[in-house]
Amino acid sequence: MRVRVRSEGGEREIEVEEGATVQDLLERLGCDRESVLVRRGKRLVVEEERLSDGEELEILRVVTGG
């Protein structure tokens, strides 16, 4: 199945396996969970949540400073 991901780097479609979770998606993208928050619409989602086909997610980078 596919999900649409919006992040700093723009928008893209990602192919994920059936039953994949938010955590699987983050690993796919090479993001560590500590550096980001994931939103579905206005709601924050936890890493264990399952993805559904065709949905849109937003990945927000939360780390600053440096």
């Binding site: 500590e34 550096s35 980001v36 928050l37 924050l44 927000l60 939360v62 780390v63 600053t64 400073g65």
Partner: protein
């Protein structure tokens, strides 16, 4: 998160009824969240909150974050004081960075900024009549600082991390109510409360700090609680080593601000740039 914040404030004696407490406010997610938490607790516990901002003069960065700072203060009805490098030192940080390059001082922007921001924050805190200044440092900031000081072998700076309660002439003590709350949770809090916060990155940020941050985040992702473990171990180590090194402060010969030396670090840096 609100509960943990309140417990930190109560147990650490960070704000008591009748007191006037400063909050260092940059306009980023940590300090804006802290201001909301402090102002709301202040109404319940009857202490007064004053927001203190330092405008270093970093083009394309600080203006935006100070806008968020002003929005937060006006929506909370909190007194807001802003001090500027330009007024305090005669030059913005951007100008100092150019001067440092011309004069080949070999010092990076963060050295000037860190030293001078603390200097002005202390001065504005004293002028505002606050008994303490709360800063928005979170768990990530703390463990990054611990690891960086370890890596640099800077033991005296390492031991100075953490709360300081002993009042010293001219120096307003700092407290960190969010120091046990992970950065990600503070960000989630700001998002859930729909707070207007600045998420930009300082244009001068570079070097080992970002690498240490990313390293700790990767480690924490795979081994939850290691940041907390690092903080706890550091605290126990610090206790065994006799706590923070308290240095005697005296007025700077040049500007009168408290310093352990004859001339304070800010005046030294300004002299190096030909600004004093």
């Amino acid at each position: 998160m609100e509960k943990r914040f309140r417990r930190a404030v109560y147990e650490g004696g960070m704000a008591r009824p009748g007191e006037r407490v400063g909050v260092a406010l940059s306009g980023g997610k940590d300090s804006v969240s802290l201001l909301y938490l402090m102002a709301e607790l202040g109404r319940l516990r009857n202490f007064q909150v004053v927001a203190l901002s330092v405008d270093e003069g970093i083009g394309g960065y600080r203006e935006e974050s100070l806008k968020c700072a002003r929005v937060a203060c006006s929506s909370l009805g909190v007194e807001h004081r802003v001090v500027r490098f330009k007024e305090g030192f005669g030059a913005t940080l951007d100008e100092m960075v150019r001067m440092a390059e011309e004069r080949k001082t070999g010092l990076d922007p963060c050295t000037y900024c860190g030293v001078m921001r603390r200097y002005l924050l202390n001065r504005v805190a004293r002028e505002a009549g606050v008994c303490r200044v709360a800063t928005g440092h979170n768990l990530d900031d703390e463990v990054q600082a611990i690891l960086l000081n370890y890596l640099r072998g800077d033991l005296s700076r390492l031991l100075r991390l953490g709360p300081s309660y002993s009042p010293r002439e001219g120096f307003v003590p700092r407290v960190k109510p969010l120091r046990e709350i992970p950065e990600r949770e503070v960000a989630a809090y700001a998002l859930i409360r729909d707070l207007k916060v600045h998420l930009g990155q300082c244009p001068y940020a570079r070097g080992m700090h970002a690498e240490v941050r990313d390293f700790l985040n990767r480690l924490e992702s795979r081994h939850p609680n290691c940041k907390f473990g690092l903080l706890r171990t550091f605290e126990r180590l610090k206790e065994r080593l006799g706590g923070r090194e308290e240095v005697m402060l005296q007025p700077c010969d040049s500007c009168g601000e408290p310093t352990p030396e004859k001339v304070c670090r800010t005046c030294e840096l300004l002299a190096g740039l030909g600004l004093r």
